[in-house]
Amino acid sequence: MKPFDYHRPETLQAALELLTDPGATAYGGGTNLLDMMKCGAALPGTLVDVTALPGLQGVSRAADGRLRLGAALRNSDLARDPLILAEAPLLSEAVLSGASGQIRNMATTAGNLLQAPRCPHYALPESPCARRDDRTGCAARDHAGRDHAVLGWDDSCRAVHPSDLCVGLAALGATVEIATLAGRSEQPLAALHPLPSAGRALEPGALITAVLIPAASLGLRARYVKVRERTSFAFALVSAAAGLEIADGRITRAGLALGGVAATPWRRAEAEAALIGAAPGPETFARAAALLLQGASPSGENGFKIALAERVAIRALSEAVTPRAGQAAWPGSVFDAPKEDTPDVA
């Protein structure tokens, strides 16, 4: 591993000053960054540990009523926070469906947002990768597989964003608070995860300080569904987060996002608009899911993910309205807890 300096500043000002060094990187739990450093995909000269900074911990309620998730909040603390469980349990479900218990004990909110693109070539420094460095090219261009994107990709990158949490945050319309030496600003979550065509996200020297969830959250009637072969410690082949507000038999607000299909948690205003004013039900959900997938195309041997993603979106919407018994036992899982006895077969 390339030698590096390590700092654990105790003021935001000190952290931001350290981050003006172009070789400096913010460091939360290290669960992704250290892997990238070990394989040589990331070679920072300085790590700025943000876990001692004031105001980056915990879940709190902002003055305007929104939920504020600290950037250095551990995933495991997020997942069992009383405010989250009461007002946005979707986020708990998404977090608990990801990684492993040990990783969640270390990983932070902001670190989750800024995970490396999910493509094997990103972590192989010998492979050309336009997302990793300035060399042109993409080793996955001719050989994309089941883990690559079907939406929003282009020839510069076919990688997907790996996060579960971000899919839930996207569905809830979260925004991100960012600090620089010039001051604080707020951006939509999507700004952090631009499509390959849109260039880089965080400007140099910027630090995420919090994630904000709108008040009157959609998180109550919400569901995260994650499809993957392995029940734990596996990225989503495809996932979906859905949140609905229903009044008088009509959907009044809606959030819908997909994971595992694009470089960003995938939302489309048209899909959400199609839900609003409609009665919740299979036809409504199918129409929204079809709009969400509009324009999808295989980037390799992954065309099946398009139809699968539609079904996953429909499932998430359906279970947001009608929770399945036992679904909390395996967060995000298509399955509930295993039975001890033989099921009755119809």
Binding site: P3, P120, A139, S232, F233
Partner: protein
């Protein structure tokens, strides 16, 4: 043995082998089943694995590896590496100290050809191309990165289609590539129906929890101590000596604890030789710990296969012919071929039976044995074909297998030394509830999920080698045994002590076992599920031999109550000898030794199979595995919800260890069916998922309710202990059972392993 006296210390460098007393804790079923001797040391961290060991003035090694699968190393920036603080030396083919044996010279079947920096050729991605020695592991790793190799790459042969066809004469370890009994063409022609199944299996990697690690230290010009996990310490110590130009016995391998081997720790590999070489050259101990990624290539894998099975079905659902065609991937420089076809040659009664192996040479690391080599992949394909045939014959899968039950080995015509497979079918079916299985698609459960039930037959050969052991009875009434046993988690520490104690007719709690070093009597390799049979029998025979000496002493001593009884007139029981005709007349072992003025007697024992039995009988462990799957009807996500395996493995020495082995086998079968697959980059031949996040094995949440049963089976021919192997049989049958359950749920016949969501999605 009290808890306090249990050894919690670490081994020191002078110790040849580790000595463990019986485990102090007896938990579970009535205290009759010995608990793991190594258990407390492992859970408390006192058990040192090779990478845990330290030495004075230790240097750390790291490898730079090839980023492409074929080509040449043109340049390495050794100056940059040497300039990095802490880096002491960089070895490349240009300056690597000489070896007495070329790494590509094969003097012994287990002398796998490997890369020890002999030249600049790249034969697979991940191949070691330079070695960096440094004061810290971090400095060594950074030195390796700074070498930034310049490569002249050539297009790699990465898969079956690009591979160079090659016709091997032998597959696996000395097994024939082709065989035919009867006339398969005629058998197929005469069949009422012929079914054909084609299935592809991927490259799989052993992924033992413990990485390969070597700590080499020279204790003299002709004395090398290697701490390294190894499944064949005596054999491999001899092979290592050959590369280093050392006399026999100059190398000691210490391997008291192995964190999983599965075949990948039964081979010579470059890092082992180079670590010893570097330690000699630099005059300091050297430690190498392979990274997880570096275990994908240089230390073997299970080769991918394409298999085609044709089954002819005659009247009454009887097989008329079975043809098993296998194309396996092989490396460009070694000759190991996955012997998948053997899985179908001894299992079902079929008069016309053939297997045919061919290979494709590709630019990948060399495959080797991986848990149930051949049988695992061959059984997975065979059992799917059997279910397709059962359906064609209009029979329940179990009924179809029973109607083709082999009373004698179909390949050789020999009788089985024992075969309680019928009892396995019955016990497994009963425990699973198989009788309630609908013949057509299974249907849905209360939550609307598709349910399927499938089964498969398990079979694995009863391997035996030649092993030796030494057992002593001491004047204080205790005993000790010494053997180069191999405990890779399967329980050798416990079982070998049990066997020695059984031979001694003593309580295992009174016996100390010294094991885990190549300087001890050769317990032979731990592979092919033959270690307990071989080393256990040797330990038992050594104990018996010691008792015979005690009996000779007693019966010849006029002062003994046994005087004149003759050896056959004396019975040994619980540390005592007594007259067969009058059990009240006897004395303890220590009394015999005390009167003889001896501190101890030493017994020698050999474990090996009786030649006439080997030639006269077919010897196999058997079993029947039943699996249930639940499948989401829209999303195609699958989960195995129940597995039952019933096994006939001869005498069960320790139910606790056996259950663990059999459950591990079922889990491996599940892993084979649904998870494991190495993914190669078609452009470079690199493995793209060379880590435990990308290469999936099941998580706890994937493991369903497992039930393993053993049925009684007495075998007077397999070996003196009557034991058969349990380590690998559980993998066979289980992958096929899961595939068949998916088929029962969906009607889809799998064409590849692992079975993927997209495969099933297209058939919902």
């Amino acid at each position: 043995m009290s808890h306090d006296s249990y050894p919690m210390r670490v081994m020191d460098a002078a110790e040849h082998g580790l000595t463990l007393p019986a485990a102090p804790l007896r938990y579970g079923s009535g205290g009759k089943v010995p608990a793991r001797r190594d258990g407390l040391a492992k859970v408390t961290g006192a058990a040192l694995y090779a990478a845990d060991r330290q030495a004075e003035a230790l240097l750390h090694a790291a490898f730079a590896t090839a980023p492409v699968a074929r080509g040449r190393v043109v340049a390495l920036d050794t100056q940059a590496a040497l300039a990095h603080p802490g880096v002491v030396q960089v070895y490349t083919p240009a300056n690597r100290p000489p070896l007495a044996q070329h790494p590509d010279e094969k003097r012994h079947p287990f002398n796998f050809r490997h890369e020890a920096l002999q030249d600049d050729t790249i034969r697979y991605a991940g191949q070691p191309i330079a070695m960096v020695l440094a004061e810290t592991p971090e400095a060594a790793a950074e030195g390796a990165r700074l070498l930034a190799p310049e490569i002249a790459a050539e297009p790699p042969r990465v898969d079956h289609d690009a591979g160079t066809p090659w016709q091997p004469e032998m597959v696996g370890f000395f097994a024939p590539a082709q065989a035919e009994v009867g006339d398969v063409a005629r058998g197929l022609a005469e069949a009422e129906q012929v079914v054909e199944v084609e299935i592809e299996t991927p490259d799989q990697f052993h992924n033992a929890m413990e990485p390969h690690a070597i700590l080499a230290r020279w204790e003299g010009p002709e004395k090398l101590l290697l701490d390294t996990p190894n499944q064949g310490p005596v054999m491999i110590a001899g092979l290592v000596a050959g590369y280093l130009g050392l006399p026999e016995g100059a190398v000691e391998i210490r391997t008291p604890f192995i964190g999983g081997g599965f075949g990948s720790k039964l081979m010579i590999y470059g890092a082992m030789i180079l670590t010893a070489l570097a330690a000699r050259d630099l005059g300091r101990p050297v430690k190498t710990v392979l990274s997880r990624a570096q275990m994908y290539g240089p230390v073997g894998h299970r080769a991918g296969t394409r298999q085609r099975l044709r089954l002819g079905i005659g009247s009454g659902g009887r097989l008329t012919a079975l043809d098993h065609e296998v194309t396996a991937l092989a490396s460009s420089f070694e000759d190991f071929v996955e012997p998948s076809g053997h899985a179908s040659q001894h299992l079902y009664a079929v008069p016309n039976l053939a297997m045919r192996h061919s290979a494709r040479r590709v630019d990948r690391g060399t495959p080797v044995a991986m848990r149930a080599p051949g049988e695992a992949s061959g059984s997975a394909a065979l059992e799917v074909a059997m279910d397709v045939a059962a359906e064609a014959a209009g029979l329940d899968p179990l009924a179809f297998r029973l109607s083709n039950y082999a009373e004698t080995d179909p390949a050789t015509g020999r009788p089985f030394s024992s075969k309680a497979l019928r009892e396995c079918y019955a016990a497994g079916a009963e425990a699973f509830g198989w009788a309630g299985r609908p013949a057509a698609r299974m249907g849905r459960d209360a939550e609307g999920r598709l349910i399927g039930w499938g089964m498969g037959t398990s079979q694995y050969m009863c391997t035996m080698y030649r092993g030796e052991a030494r057992v002593k009875v001491h004047a204080d009434g205790t005993a000790s045994a010494a053997i180069a046993g191999v405990d890779m988690g399967q329980g050798a520490w416990t079982i070998l002590a049990q066997c020695a104690a059984e031979g001694l007719s003593m309580d295992p709690e009174r016996l100390r076992l010294t094991s885990g070093s190549s300087v001890l009597p050769d317990g032979a390799v731990a592979g092919g599920s033959g270690h307990t049979a071989t080393a256990g029998m040797a330990a038992s025979e050594a104990g018996r031999n010691a008792v015979e000496q005690l009996i000779s002493l007693a019966t010849a001593d006029p002062a003994s109550p046994l005087f004149g009884a003759g050896n056959s007139g004396v019975v040994a029981r619980d540390g005592r000898l007594s007259r067969a005709d009058d059990p009240s007349r006897g004395e303890s072992y220590s009394e015999v030794l005390a009167r003889a003025g001896l501190a101890e007697v030493e017994g020698q024992g050999v474990g090996e199979r009786v030649q006439a039995h080997r030639e006269g009988y077919a010897m196999f462990s058997h079993g029947a595995v039943f699996a249930e799957v639940a499948i989401d009807p829209e999303l195609a996500q699958m989960r195995v919800t129940r597995m039952v395996g019933a096994f006939a493995c001869g005498r069960i020495l320790n139910p606790r260890m056996v259950q663990s082995q059999l459950e591990g086998g079922l889990i491996w079968g599940l892993s084979f069916a649904l998870h494991e697959e190495a993914q190669y980059d078609p452009a470079t031949g690199r493995i793209l998922n060379a880590d435990l996040a990308g290469y999936h094995v099941p998580a706890h949440a994937d493991i369903p309710q497992l039930t393993t049963l053993t049925v009684a089976e007495e075998d007077p021919y397999v070996n003196a202990l009557g034991v058969k192997g349990v380590g690998e049989v559980g993998i066979t049958g289980s992958a096929g059972a899961i595939a068949n359950a998916i088929r029962h749920a969906t009607g889809f016949t799998p064409t590849r392993f692992p079975i993927r969501i997209e495969d099933v999605l297209a058939h919902l």
